[in-house]
Symmetry: D2
Subunit: 441 residues, 4 copies
C-alpha cells in the first residue's frame, strides 16, 4: 500500500558515528540498561493528534495550514480518516516506536450526532485494531477530545450545563471502552477547558465538585469493566483557558486527596506544561514521584523565550538526564512511557521532517536515560543525599519525626544545650560537575 | 518623646476633595459599610520588618543602604532597638492603623546564643507591651525569622540537620508564646528557606515529612497554651530559594491534607507572591476561599515587568476590587486583616515617604472594599452566577452530583436522547463593564 | 438592510449614572477636553480582523470556531464578504467609532492567483468606499496580510526566496494604493513573520538588509503617489515567530536609523505587544515619544498571567491614565488614534458581546484620557520633574551637556572640590497617590 | 604566603576520564583548535566582585552573609583588601585563568572622600600590578562601581543632579587610567542605575542625552590617553532598576547610533542578562555580531524558573555550543573573552566550591567551543544557509537589494508573471539533530 511516507525506509540503529540523518545514532532498542532492554525502559509512543491531525495553522488559527497532507484535502471524511491511518501506521512501523496514543476524534471524524460520531469511531477502531495486529504497535493510552467542539468552550465536566457534563461522559465512557478493547496501558484525561477565563462568572467550588464527581465516575467505570491500566490526569497551568484546574502535580495531588482519589489516579507530566507552570520538568517529575503519583510523560518541551505551548521535540540531554534519573530512582515506568505529544515546527513541511523530529527525540532520550542509569548505578548522588541527611538517623532526628517530643520540650532542649548548629555547604557546583561527568565521558 | 517622625502630625480623614498628601481621602475608619465600621472590616496592620528594619540596600545587598535611619547607626543594639520601637509606635499611632506585625528579630537583636537572643526578645516584649497599651495598637500576628541566619541557609524545619529543626522550634515556640502574651490574632509561618536550590542534593519526600511534623507540633502547641488565634502559612513560589514548598494556596492545601492539618491551618496570601506564582491575586483569594483556608492578606504588590518580590504598596482600585469582593463573599476577615508587608522604593528616603506609602495603600483598599461591598449588595454578580449554573438544580444535575448515576448509564442516556447542548455566552466583557460601573460611578 | 446586529440600536452617551449596558457612560464624544472634542482626541477605530474575520477558534486552531457568524458559513466567498461588510458597517455606525482599519484579505477573499486576489479586493474596495460615504466612517489605516498564507511561513520581506519578497511587495503596493484611495490617515506594516524560528537556518544580517530595503521601497512609493499619511511599523517581540525583528520601540528605532528611515516611519504601539516584550505600555509610549516616533496605538491589552497575545479590551483606567498623559504631553495624536485590535473572549458569542467589548473600551479610554488631561493641566507632575532636574540648568550642568568640559577636567574638578552630592528622595509613593487623586476625585 | 585557598593545589588538565573533581576534564589550554590554543580562543577571566567581595547575603540583603571569608571580618579595611588580594591571586594562579576583572571598589575600599578613595585605590593598584607580574594573570577589563553608593540611587550619568554625574566621571576617569596602566584589554561600563524606577518622576529624553554625552566623554578620553582596548557597554534589562536603558544589544545599538558611537563602543553580553531580557543568549550574540558590536561575554547564566539575576556558572554544553559557533563565525574574540561574573550558590560556602564552580564552567565552555569549532569546520550549517538564500544571488534578488527596482514595478512584475512561490521546509528538527551529532559523537 502506498502512503505519504513511501519514500522513507525503516529507521535503523547505526551507532553514534553514523551521519545518516534517517538513522538512530543512540536509540539501540535492544541495548541492555540495568538488565532491561532500552525499548522496555523508554516505552516510546507516537501521538496521533499533532502528527497526523494538525494542519500547520499557527497560533492565530487563520488561513490555510502549511502541512498540506493528502488527508487534509476536501473529500469523504471517513476515506480521509483511513488514508490518515494508513500513513500513520506506516510512519509508526518505520520509526519503530512501540506505542501510539489517540483522542477519539483524532482517529475518526466527529459526526453530526452522538450516534454518528460513535459509528465513525467504531469503524475506525476496527481499522486500528487490524493495523495494530499487523504492525505490532501497541496502545500507550487513549483519551477523549472534550475540548475542541464549541459545546465545551466553557468546560466539559466543569460546564455550567449538566448536559455538557453528560455529553463528555458519553465520550469518555466510549473512549475508555475502546482503550480497554485495544489493550491500552493507560487512559488519560486532559482538562483543556476544565478551568476558567474569568472569575466573575465562575463558581470555583461548584466546578471543582463537578470535576471531582466526574473523576470518581471514571474510576468506578474502570473497575466495573476490569480495565487494569492506569487513569492519568495531565496537569497544565493555562492555555487555552486563563487558568486550568489541573495546574501542576502538587495541585492535582491536593485535588485528588480532596475527592479520595490519590490512590486511583496518577499524572501524565508534559515537559512544556511543567515550564509553563513555572517549574522545571525535573521538579514536576520529582514532585510526582515523591507523592506517589508519577504515571507517564509527554516529552515535548517548550521554548524558554515563548510563553505558550510550543510542543517541540526534546533535543537536550542536559535537560533530560536528571528527570530520567528520577524516573529510574522511582523504579522506572510501569504502565507509563515517553509519549511525544510533539508538533513539528510549522515550517517543517516535508514528510522526512516528521522522522527527523522523532529520531532526534528518541536519540536524545535514549542517551539521557542511559547516562542517567550510569549515574544511578554509580550511587554517587544517592551517597551525597544519604550523608547530607544522616543526622536524621540520630536519636534526636528519630524522636522528632516519630512524634516523640513536643514543641515546648524541643525548644527547651535547644535552650538548655545552647545549640549552635553550623551550616554545611550544599555543594551545588560540585554536583553539577558530577552530572556533567556522566554526560561527557 | 522625640522620634524620627516628629515633623509629621496624626493623619486625619479629610475626604476625596482634599489635596493634602498627608491626609486620608478615602479611608474614613468609622464609615459604616454593610453595617460595620471600615476599620473593623479592613483590619490594617503595619509590618515592622520592611518599614523599620530594612536599610535600603537593594537586591545586590552590597554597600550602604539608602535609608540611613537613626537606629541603623553603629551603637548599642538594644538601645537602637528601643529607638526603633519608639519611632515605630509613633508612626503607627500617627497613621492610625489598628494593628502591627513582627518577626522576633525585627524587634530585638539576635544575640550570640539562644539565651541572649531570648533575653533581648523578652526585654523588647516588655517595651512593646507597654507601647501597645499606650497607643492602643494591637497585634495582628507575630512570626519568627527562621531564614536570615546562615544556619538556616538550607532550611529550618526542612534542614538536613535536625539540630537546625530544633533551633527553629525554639524560636517558633518562643514567638508563639510572645504572640499569645501580646494578644495576637494570628501566628504566621513563612517558609522562606523551606524549599530547595537544587534537586540533586535534596530529598523531597523526607523534607516534606519534616515540615509536616513541624506544623503538627506547632498546632499541638497552640492548643496546649490555649492560643485562640489562627495559624497561618504564607505561600510563596520561590525567592530566595529556587523553589519554595508552600508554592501557592492549592499546593498548601494539598500539603495540609496530607498531614491532616487542613482544618487547623489557613493561608496568609500576599499579592506579590500570588503574581510570582503565575496567578492573579484574585485567583489566590478565590482559591483559598473555595477551599476554606482563607486567613489573612499581605497587601503588597509586585511589578508586572520585574520577576522578583518588589513588595510595593497597593495603588490600584481596579486590581483590588474583585479580591475584596471575594473576601466579602467569604464572610469577611475573622482573625485576619490587610497587612502591609510593603517596602518603600529604595529611593524614597524621607520620613514622610513612609506615610505616603501607607496612606495611599489604605485609601486604595478603603475605596476598593467600599465599592466591592456596593457590588456585593447589588447582587448583580451573584445573579449572573446563579443563572449560569441553574441547570445543575435540575433532576439530571442533582443525580450526577449525588452519585445517583454511573458513567455508563449517563453515557447511555446521552446517546439515547441524542443530546446536543448549545454553548451559552460567557459574557466576560459585559461583566468587566459591570464591575467598572461600580468603580466609576 | 437586515444585518447580524439588527437587534441592537445606536449606542448613545447616557452619562455615568446609566445602568444601560448598551450605552456609553463616559465617552461623550462632543465633550471638550483641553479645547478639543473627545472624539478628535481619541480617534477610535474598529478593526476588521478580529471582529469580523476571526471564527472563534482558539490557540489550538482545531475544530469549529465558536462565533458562527452568518458569513462564516459555506457559500460564495464574495457574497460572504459583502454580507460581512454590511454587518461591519452596521456595527461601526451603531457604535459611533469614527474610524476603521483593515488588512487586504480581511475585506476580500484571497484568490487562487494574484490577479484574482486583486480583482476581489478591487470589488470590495468599491463596496467599502460606498459604505464609508454612507456612514461617515473614515479609514485610520490599511495594511496587507503578508503572513497567513503558507508562502509567508518563513517571512515576507525577510524570506529566503526573493519571489516571496516580490509577492509581498505586490500586496503592500496594492494595499497602500487602496489606503490612499480611501483617504487613510496611516499605512501600517506588521512584520508577523519577519523574524525567525531558529538561528541555525537564519542569516540575520541578510534578512535585516532585505527588510531595510523593503521599507525604503515603501517610503519611496508613499512619496511617489503623494500619500500624506504616516507609515507605521507595529512592534511585537514574538508570536507566531520565536523572535520578531520589530521587537519593541527601541529596537525599531535602532533599525530605522540603520536604514536612514527614522524621520519617515513611526510606530503603532500595541498594549499587549508591549507587555509581551517585558515592558509596560507606559514605557513603550514614553520611549517612542522620547525618540520622536510615536504614531498610533492598538489599545488591546494582554493578561498578565498568560504568555501569549490575548488581545483583550482595555478595561482599567489605572493602567491607561499615564500612557494617555504621555500622549497628551507629546501633543496628542496627529494621524494616529486608538484602534481596538481587540478580540472577544472566545466564549463571548452573542451579537451584543461585540458591543459590550467596544463600549467598555471606549468608556475606559474616555475616562483615562479626560483624567490624564486634568492631571496635565494641573501641571503637578511637570513641576516635580522640573524641580528634580533643575540642577542641570546650572553652569556645571550646561557645560557638561554642551561638551564644554572633558572627562579628565570634570574628574579633576570633582576631586579638587571634594564633592559629596547627597541623594534626594524619588517620592514614588507620593506620586502614585497624586495620580490616584486625579483618578478618584 | 598562606591564603584562604592553601589546601588546594594547582588545577591540572587530566582528561575526560578523570574523576578528580579538582582537575579539568576538558579544558586543555594548549590544545590546538582551528590552529590556535584553546586558552587564546577562550580568554577566561575571573571576576573580583562576586568571587571575593560578595558576602553571601541573599536577595533580601539582611543578616549575616554565609561566606564568612577571613577578609569579611571586622578590621582595618586596607589590610583586609590586601588579604583578599592575596587570596584572589592565589586562586587565579591555581585555577589557571589567564585574566581577571574588577570594579574600582572591589579591590580597594571606598573612602570617606573622593581623595581617600583614590588613595586607597592607588595603593591597591600597586599591589595588583605586582601580583600580576608575579602570577602572569592579565587584566581583561576594569570598571567603576557607580551604583552601590546611595549617591547613585537615582543614576550616575543619568542622575537628576549634575554633581553626581561629575562624581561618576571622576571614578570612571580614574578606573580607565588604572585599566590603561595595568594593560587592560577592555574597559566596561555597566549602567546599573542608568534606568528608572518609575516614569512619573523621570525625563527619559533628558536622561538619554546625559548618558550619550557621558559616553562621548569616555570615548574622547580613551583616545586622549592612547588606550587601545575596547570600550564595552553591558546590556541588562532591569534589576535593580525597574527598567535599565541598556536593555539589550539591539537597544544599545540604537542608542549608540543616536550619539554617533556605533563604531566606538561594543557590548559585553551576559548570558543571564540576555534571558532576563526575554532573549536566548544565542540571540544576543548573533544580534550583536550581525550589528558589528560583539565585544566580550559574561558567561554566567540564570535559572529559567527564577526572574532575577542568579549569576550561575555555565554548565550546559547544549546551551553554549551555538553561541560559541556564532563567536567563531564572527572571527572569534579580539580584545574580549569569557569572563565569569558568576556567583556561587549562597549555600556553597567551602573554599573548594569556588574551584568547582570555575572548573565546571571552564570545562563546559572548552567542550562547547571545541565542538562548535568542529561544526564550523564541517561547513554543514553554512551550506544549509547558503542554499536556503541562494535565490538572492539571482538577477531578481540583486536588483531588489541594490535598489534597481521600485515597489510599483516589482509589484507589477509579480502580477504580470502571476508568481506563486512555494514554501520550502525550514528543517529545524533536522538541524537540531545535526548540532546534536556534533555534541554527542
Amino acid at each position: 500500500m502506498k502512503t505519504y511516507f513511501d519514500a522513507i525506509s525503516k529507521i535503523e540503529y547505526e551507532g553514534p558515528k553514523s551521519e545518516n540523518p534517517l538513522a538512530f545514532r543512540h536509540y539501540d532498542k535492544d541495548k541492555l540498561v540495568m538488565g532491561k532492554r532500552l525499548e522496555e525502559h523508554l516505552r516510546f509512543a507516537v501521538c496521533y493528534w499533532h502528527n497526523f491531525c494538525w494542519e500547520g495553522k499557527d497560533i492565530f488559527g487563520l488561513g490555510t495550514g502549511t502541512m498540506n497532507r493528502p488527508w487534509h484535502q476536501p473529500g469523504d471524511e471517513m476515506e480521509m480518516a483511513r488514508m490518515k491511518m494508513d500513513a500513520a501506521f506506516d510512519f509508526m512501523a518505520k520509526l519503530g516506536a512501540p506505542y501510539w496514543c489517540w483522542h477519539d476524534y483524532d482517529i475518526a471524524p466527529e459526526g453530526a450526532t452522538i450516534k454518528e460520531s460513535r459509528n465513525n469511531f467504531a469503524a475506525m477502531l476496527d481499522v486500528a485494531e487490524q493495523k495494530m495486529a499487523e504492525t505490532g504497535v501497541k496502545l500507550l493510552w487513549g483519551t477523549a477530545n472534550a475540548f475542541s467542539n464549541p459545546r465545551y468552550m466553557c468546560g466539559a465536566a466543569t460546564n455550567p450545563n449538566p448536559e455538557v457534563f453528560a455529553y463528555a461522559a458519553s465520550q469518555v465512557q466510549n473512549a475508555m471502552a475502546a482503550t480497554h478493547r485495544l489493550g491500552g496501558a493507560n487512559y488519560v484525561l486532559w482538562g483543556g477547558r476544565e478551568g476558567y477565563q474569568n472569575l466573575m462568572n465562575t463558581d470555583l467550588k461548584r466546578e471543582s465538585e463537578q470535576l471531582g464527581r466526574f473523576l470518581q465516575m471514571v474510576v468506578e467505570y474502570k473497575h466495573a469493566i476490569g480495565f487494569k491500566g492506569t487513569i492519568l490526569l495531565e496537569p497544565k497551568p493555562q492555555e487555552p483557558t486563563k487558568h486550568q484546574y489541573d495546574y501542576d502535580s502538587a495541585t492535582v495531588f491536593g485535588f485528588l486527596q480532596r475527592f479520595g482519589l490519590e490512590k486511583e489516579i496518577k499524572v501524565n507530566i508534559e515537559v512544556n506544561h511543567a515550564t509553563l507552570a513555572g517549574h522545571s520538568f525535573h521538579h514536576e517529575i520529582a514532585t510526582a514521584a515523591s507523592l506517589g503519583i508519577l504515571g507517564s510523560v509527554d516529552a515535548n518541551r517548550g521554548d524558554y523565550q515563548n510563553g505558550w505551548d510550543t510542543d517541540q521535540f526534546p533535543n537536550s540531554v542536559d535537560e533530560m538526564i536528571l528527570p530520567c534519573y528520577e524516573i529510574i530512582k522511582a523504579g522506572g515506568f510501569t504502565t507509563g512511557g515517553f509519549n511525544f505529544d510533539t508538533k513539528l515546527r510549522r515550517e517543517s513541511i516535508d514528510p522526512d521532517d516528521m522522522f527527523h523530529g522523532h529520531i532526534g527525540a528518541m536519540d536524545t532520550l535514549a542517551l539521557a536515560y542511559t547516562k542517567a542509569a550510569d549515574l544511578y548505578e554509580s550511587g554517587e548522588l544517592q551517597k551525597v543525599i544519604e550523608n547530607r541527611y544522616s543526622g536524621w538517623n540520630s536519636e534526636l532526628g528519630e524522636k522528632i519525626l516519630s512524634g516523640g517530643i513536643n514543641l515546648k520540650d524541643l525548644s527547651q532542649w535547644a535552650v538548655d544545650n545552647d545549640i549552635d548548629p553550623k551550616p554545611q555547604s550544599g555543594k551545588q557546583e560540585y554536583l553539577e560537575n558530577l552530572v556533567n561527568r556522566f554526560i561527557h565521558k
